[in-house]
């Protein structure tokens, strides 16, 4: 809980993703998550037999959380599948709260890899994604 550790920030809220390519589940796709707040951190995941993947929340701490410093966590998600690379998510998280985007719930996405990413204002910031919010 953030109030127990005022230096703690959620740099990535939990996300549940369903990956498809041309309507079929993207099984065994490699998902590369990059988070850049204090410094860049990269981790890797693999989708299951239904194309589903859960990305856990990520937390970091910094003294800047208790000082007048603007919070910006830069996020991107790339998917490698069948020898192609797809950039499905770019987002600048502007609120250090966990699940602040969906009022306390995880972000649920359905991502068709053949769709083109589009930019829209969302969550009091902006997101570029080829995914649909469900």
């Amino acid at each position: 809980m953030a109030f127990l550790n005022p230096l703690k920030a959620c740099t990535f809220s939990e996300m549940k993703i369903r990956l498809t390519l041309n309507g079929e589940p993207a099984v065994g796709a490699k998902v590369i998550r990059t988070i850049d707040w204090k410094d860049e951190q990269v981790d890797f995941y693999t989708s299951d037999e239904d194309g589903n993947i859960d990305l856990p929340a990520k937390f970091e701490s910094s003294f800047t959380q208790v000082l007048p410093v603007e919070f910006i966590s830069s996020q991107s998600i790339n998917v490698e599948y069948e020898n192609n690379n797809y950039l499905i998510w770019i987002y600048a998280k502007r609120n250090p709260g966990e699940n602040s985007e969906m009022n306390g719930d995880p972000i649920n996405l359905s991502c068709e890899l053949s769709d083109e990413p589009k930019t829209e204002r969302k969550f009091k910031s902006a997101v570029k994604t080829s995914c649909k919010f469900i």
Binding site: V69, I90, A92
Partner: protein, 115 residues
């Protein structure tokens, strides 16, 4: 026409200029209003921090001309404090004489000296 709402939104969005991925979002949001290109070659680089070794060089803002609805207008947008390095610049709060004759914040003087 530049409205107060538009200016306030730009002041919030200019923080997207710092990281390369977020710059892509900034470009998408403002490409119809500003004379900008992908990868934002006209972004302003600056250096914040303190002393010689505790420094960070990064994109600080953008200077560009408007187009279409904003034709004939110029935009200079600079981000504020977004890291410990920027905070050190804020804390360098001495007074420095600027070459035009005025007095300026010493930390900003050095940061703008790098722009």
């Amino acid at each position: 026409m530049l409205t107060p709402q538009y200016s306030a939104q730009l002041a919030a969005d200019i923080y997207l200029i710092k990281k390369p991925n977020d710059q892509e979002i900034f470009f998408d949001l403002y490409k119809d209003d500003f004379d900008i290109k992908e990868n934002l070659p006209n972004k302003i680089q600056g250096k914040t921090g303190a002393f010689t070794l505790i420094k960070s060089t990064h994109a600080m803002g953008i200077a560009t001309c408007g187009k279409d609805n904003f034709k004939g207008q110029a935009f200079v947008a600079l981000k504020g404090t977004a890291s410990g390095y920027d905070l050190l610049t804020d804390l360098n709060a001495g007074i420095k004489r600027f070459h035009t004759g005025g007095s300026v914040h010493q930390g900003f003087y050095y940061t703008f000296g790098y722009l």
